[in-house]
Amino acid sequence: MKCVGWKCSFSFILVLGALLLTVAPLLAQQTPASSAAPLTIVASAATSEIPRAVNEKLAQLDKDVKAAQSSADNAWMLVSAALVLMMTGPGLALFYGGLVRRKNTLAIMMQSFALMALITVMWALVGYSLCFGGDGHFIGSFEHAFLRGVGADPNPDYAGTIPQLTFMVYQLMFAIITPALITGATAERMKFSGTVLFLALWFLAVYAPLAHMVWGKGGFLNASLGGKFPTLDFAGGTVVHISSGVSALVCALYLGKRTGYPKQPMPPHSLVLSFIGACLLWVGWFGFNAGSALASNSLATSAFVATHFAAAAAALSWSAAEWFKNGRASALGAISGAVAGLVAITPAAGFVGPMPALAIGLIAGVVCYWMVTKVKAIFGYDDALDAFGVHGAGGTIGALLTGVFAQQVINPIFGAGKAVGALDGHWGQVGNQLMGVLIAWVFALVGTLVLLKIVDLLTGIRVPEEHEIEGLDITQHGEEAYNLES
């Protein structure tokens, strides 16, 4: 049947109206008879039978509705979990893999992949429990160690409609990508053994406490479950991006510059790989941000839209800045801008509308461009693949702007009718965000520095200069990314 939009609904209403007109008199006539009939039944033997039957039916319907909602939410959350894993492998692995020189390609990809395996095992043993067990202010408990008590039943504190097992595996994917982001700063010169040990310790000592503080029940910075400074962080602006970005800066400073930097040219060996990686990151980010609604609801849609808009706006603003500066818009600039926008919208995704999302993206693109081109050159640190410039800076801007643009019409997180961000008139939220940002910065800074010292003593951190020149693929892993002659 061909029938477009308003025409279709218009004719439908006409038919419906006509039907009602003809049926109405009939109904009016029948009413006395039909209302008399049940009355006699109620008065007879079935007095309690029928209401009970109705109640049972209602209860059953209620159960069915809940089951349907739970199925829908669970389906979306499982897909989201898979999307977030895809951000690390192959997304981030390709993005970073293309940016290094060809002799270090496998090494950087292997670091991401190693974390996919290592963090997963640690998560099952204690990680999940340290992030989401108990109700401490600073860190979780051992309540769910070895995934004790984590099964098909929902955990109503976090996600009341999906199995806790789903929530657990979804959060795991965040714990994987966060340390993987740091490898962008340590690229091309950090030992594999040191990297693995450092990032495993970092996950326990920096990620887990921060995740609990911001997202865990009773956490010091939690916005909805009784935190002292309610910090809005929808999908990980502080927990994921500030923590990894700031730690990345500390790592870059501690490790020192790559041999030959900045005199020797170190151009990316394959922007094609980076391009594919960035596009996979963009798609995966829908699972990251829209999935953080923890349900397949309208808030997920809102976060999905905000995420997409911010990425697009930031790709444009970074490119525009570059065009203005160099007279050309580069592919690397466009994809870096998109990632910067995705980072900045992460804390805000479930709190802001589409127009603020565009604004956040535009701002993030320009600021991150300025961070990686100007600020890095001025201070001279060798943040090899700009983990700090994009994730540290983008995360910080995003967290602060969340306090500005968050609106209760999007997400009434403080209760119905209560102002959320500055746009609602609640300027205090910017202060809360600043507090959250400061704590995340200091925590990541100190934690990373201490851990680097420890790992330096245990395994060493940096490869010898001759290994660096030969490349980490051969010296750390005994293989090469490209054996084109074989």
Binding site: P267, R328, S330, L332, G333, S336, K374
Partner: protein, 112 residues
Amino acid sequence: MMKIEAIIQPSRFESVKDALREIGIEGMTVTEVRGHGRQKGHTEVYRGREYTVDLLPKIKLEMVLPDALVNRVVDTILKTAKTGKIGDGKIFLSRVEEAIRIRNEERGENAL
């Protein structure tokens, strides 16, 4: 016998090869090389870092010829490899003392 080494623009290589085949030149050795003479390179910018690329891709043709053919080959290369811009490359000629075909140990111009 003379050895001709011609360093030419990669974009002219196919035309040069076809033209040489037309005048009956069968054998040559081709290498992809990088280098520069007076031609300046270009700059590439990655996240604000500028790299000057001054070693540019070129094609090097090498062939050893009987003296009688040398002038015709040189003329053909000059005609087909020229674009008139800086960076068109150079031709080097040098005398070759001996040539030996490995298969049957023929020597001299017979081995070419």
